[in-house]
Amino acid sequence: MTRFLNFLSKKFGKLWNRNKKRSQLSDSEIVDRFLVHGNHINTRLRQVSYVAFLPGPDSETSVFRTGGLRIEQIWQLAIKQVISKRQNCTLRGKGTLRVDQVRKISLDVRSDESSHELHAVIMKWPIEKDKRKMLAIDLASIAVLTTYP
């Protein structure tokens, strides 16, 4: 019996660990928030607006894990996973963050593969509106804006 369990552990353990590893985001990983509303970009300062990072009704901010993807692949991902699934929605750009920057201000990022394997969410938002606003302002000040060509 023990030998059998060891066999199973060896056989499937690696697979389990690989999946577990993939679902955890490392500090150095890059995530992108796709900007789909005029509200999301401060054109005067060429900066992502804090409004873009505020969480939705589910208290999470949707992002995608884009590290290792080429820029064309990232735009394709945005169009396929965000734009095509919504009405009257225009891709305007993306705000890029590194996971450790998010964690540094007491938020966290976790994988959420329910809609796509590269989908993730920024979580642990406080309940208070003013605190959320403050954190979103912090995120906006470190995010790198890339406008959609």
Binding site: V36, H37, N39, H40, N42, L45, Q47, S49, Y50, V51, L54, P55, G56, P57, D58, S62, V82, R86, Q87, N88, C89, E128, K129, D130, K131, K133, M134, I137, S141
Partner: protein, 166 residues
């Protein structure tokens, strides 16, 4: 004195020399200077008129739920009315804010000089102002205050400081 009443004056009824020496007279003089300053820059009031137009555009764009494609709530009429009252309550000399909507349907007024100087004040139709901002990298502020048609003085001061160089 409200804004309409203030407008009904022109600048001439005020005496230019204050002959009073009492504390009250000094206070009156300060008040007079305040009103003079307000009325001396009617062009600034245009910012507020522009603000109303922007507010209506914003409302029309985000009155439906999911306006941002991420499941945001739409702006309610009570939020719109409160935002209008907020605009009216802004002193004349304050620069025009950017107006935006948050995913909660709150209307937000943003004063931003650069990446590290920003103040965002939002209303959501419940007589509260939610604010957050920073005036430099380490000087952060956030909280909420009751809004009864007057914007708390310290928030006006915060706006001035954030926009100081403009």
């Amino acid at each position: 004195m409200n804004y309409t009443a203030a407008l009904s004056y022109n600048l001439t009824p005020f005496r230019t020399i204050n002959t009073g020496a009492s504390r009250e007279a000094k206070k009156l003089q300060e008040k007079e200077n305040e009103i003079r300053n307000e009325l001396a820059f009617p062009v600034i009031r245009n910012h507020i008129n522009e603000g109303f137009k922007e507010l209506l555009d914003t409302y029309q764009e985000a009155m439906q739920d999911n306006w941002d494609s991420y499941g945001a709530k739409g702006i309610t009429l009570s939020t719109l009315y409160e935002a209008e009252r907020f605009l009216v309550a802004l002193p004349n000399l304050i620069p025009k804010p950017d107006i935006a909507v948050e995913p909660t349907g709150d209307i937000t007024f943003i004063w931003q000089r650069d990446i590290d100087h920003i103040l965002a004040l939002s209303v959501s139709g419940n007589n509260l102002i939610y604010f957050a901002g920073k005036n430099g990298i380490n000087d952060k502020t956030h909280g909420q205050r009751i809004f009864n048609d007057a914007i708390p003085k310290f928030l006006i001061e915060e706006i001035r400081q954030v926009m100081e160089s403009q």
